[in-house]
């Protein structure tokens, strides 16, 4: 009995001594600011900043002087706090959110075939570039919703993704997941969106989707400063070039492909200082 206690005690004592010595000798000095900054970051590890995860970005800020304010998910407050830790000013930047460039809902954009297989946009787009008649439009299998680490995208009843702009952090993971490049990042203050990506000639575009841009150019004549038509598709060339009058004129768009973003929502968000 006594022997057992002595031996166990001896072994335990030996190893604890080794650990104590090792702790003293092998201690690695880590800059405490890395931990502080990592604690502030959202821990979503979305990679939107271009560094491997939140810890990686925190390390890069402290060790390699990476710019503060690259973290899209954390708001201005967090970036300011990080700036205070590092003692640098953070330039104010417009919050970016993802917006959907397609209005080809199930009811207006016909499918050319019945697809049976892996239910993912990436997989579907490999077969005949998708099962929709329109080769440019949203396939509606929800890769973007699966990619969003914040649960900000849901597939609506109409088969199109719906972005909750209050939740969207602009990390861009959904943008990368979409094989049709339907989702794109925009400044939250951009007021007009071209909700179509089809560069098909007008007749073909119209026959594959009732909401497609047919490149008629009414919008380009209404807002010559801000819109141009390229490859049968209206493009916003200067998001700041829209005046209130010309936005009102955009209502003349025959298919509704170009139009104002839901401004009420955007205004409310700006008022919150987000």
């Amino acid at each position: 009995m006594l022997m057992a206690i002595i031996i166990m005690g001896g072994v335990a004592f030996f190893f604890s001594t080794v650990l104590v010595i090792a702790d003293k000798k092998l201690r690695v000095e880590v800059d405490p600011r890395i931990e502080e900054i990592a604690a502030l970051l959202p821990q979503a590890n979305c990679g939107g900043c271009g560094f491997p995860g939140c810890k990686g970005y925190a390390t890069a800020i402290v060790m390699n002087g990476a710019p503060v304010g690259k973290c899209a998910p954390s708001g201005a407050e967090v970036n300011e706090a990080i700036g205070r830790i590092m003692g640098v000013e953070v330039s104010e930047r417009v919050r970016r959110v993802v917006r959907v460039h397609c209005r080809g809902a199930e009811s207006v954009a016909a499918r050319k075939a019945l697809y049976v297989g892996i239910p993912s946009c990436q997989a579907v787009s490999m077969v005949q570039s998708g099962d929709k008649l329109c080769d440019w439009g949203c396939l509606g299998y929800g890769d973007c919703a699966k990619a969003c680490p914040f649960g900000g995208i849901t597939l609506g009843e109409n088969g199109l993704p719906q972005v909750n702009e209050e939740v969207c952090t602009g990390c861009g993971l959904c943008v990368a997941s979409c094989p049709k490049k339907i989702l794109q990042l925009h400044g939250i203050d951009e007021r007009v969106i071209v909700a179509c990506r089809s560069e098909d000639p007008p007749k073909q575009a119209k026959s594959s989707c009732a909401n497609a841009c047919i490149g008629c150019g009414i919008c380009a004549r209404a807002c010559p400063e801000a819109v141009e038509v390229k490859n049968h598709l209206a493009c916003v060339k200067d998001p700041g070039g829209f005046s209130d009058e010309c936005i009102a004129k955009l209502e003349k768009c025959p298919t509704g492909a170009i139009g104002p973003v839901d401004q009420g929502k955007a205004e409310a968000l700006r008022a919150e200082g987000a």
Binding site: M3, I7, F15, S16, L19, A22, L26, V28, A123
Partner: protein, 191 residues
């Protein structure tokens, strides 16, 4: 020859995961990703060999002469825990790249039943020092093999349409069971 038999037996026939069902928790938890499976497998192999190196002398040179064999479980847990802690500090100091690769897996291994099971089985079989070390290498690589195979299968499962109640650990356990059946085929390899 004995060494080869011990090695192959630990690697395939008595595979820790698929024949002895040890270390299942980490097997289910980490095998969803090929890179981390390999890292975890390497970390387990590494710790198993270290356990072999340290536990054998403690058992045969300290516990057996003092007739305290019944303390083996307690001692091995203590030794493995301290050892892993020490190794973690050592790697962090010497190679930060290796630490980043193994780092989060090392503490997980501290309480891994495969490691403790390995130490206990090795002493009950009365292996010599060298045999214990070879047994450690074989067991660790066997664990790695099972992890890598499972990670490959799970990669395919990602795209499969799995019934809802079986999603997650359920389908993995079923797959592991089928793999274990397949590994039973190795039983006739060595007479």
């Amino acid at each position: 020859m004995t060494l080869v038999i011990i090695f192959v037996s630990a690697l395939l026939i008595n595979n820790f995961v698929l024949a002895q069902f040890l270390g299942i928790c980490s097997f289910i938890g980490i095998s969803n990703n090929m890179t981390s499976s390999v890292s975890m497998g390497m970390a387990v192999t590494f710790v198993m060999v270290l356990t072999a190196v340290v536990c054998w002398p403690i058992y045969f040179l300290v516990l057996v002469p003092a007739h305290l064999e019944f303390l083996q479980t307690l001692t091995f847990i203590l030794v493995v825990a301290c050892l892993v802690q020490f190794v973690e500090m050592f790697i962090k100091k010497t190679s930060i790249a290796l630490y980043d690769a193994l780092g989060i897996y090392l503490p997980l291994i501290t309480t891994n039943c495969a490691i403790l099971g390995f130490a206990l089985i090795a002493v009950t079989r009365n292996y010599s020092y060298l045999e214990t070390i070879v047994y450690g290498v074989g067991s660790g690589l066997g664990y790695t093999l099972a992890m890598v195979l499972m990670a490959g299968v799970r990669g395919k499962l990602e795209t499969a349409d799995i019934p809802k109640p079986l999603q997650g650990p359920g389908i993995v356990l079923i797959t592991a069971g089928i793999m274990a059946l397949a590994f039973m085929g190795f039983a006739g390899l060595i007479k």
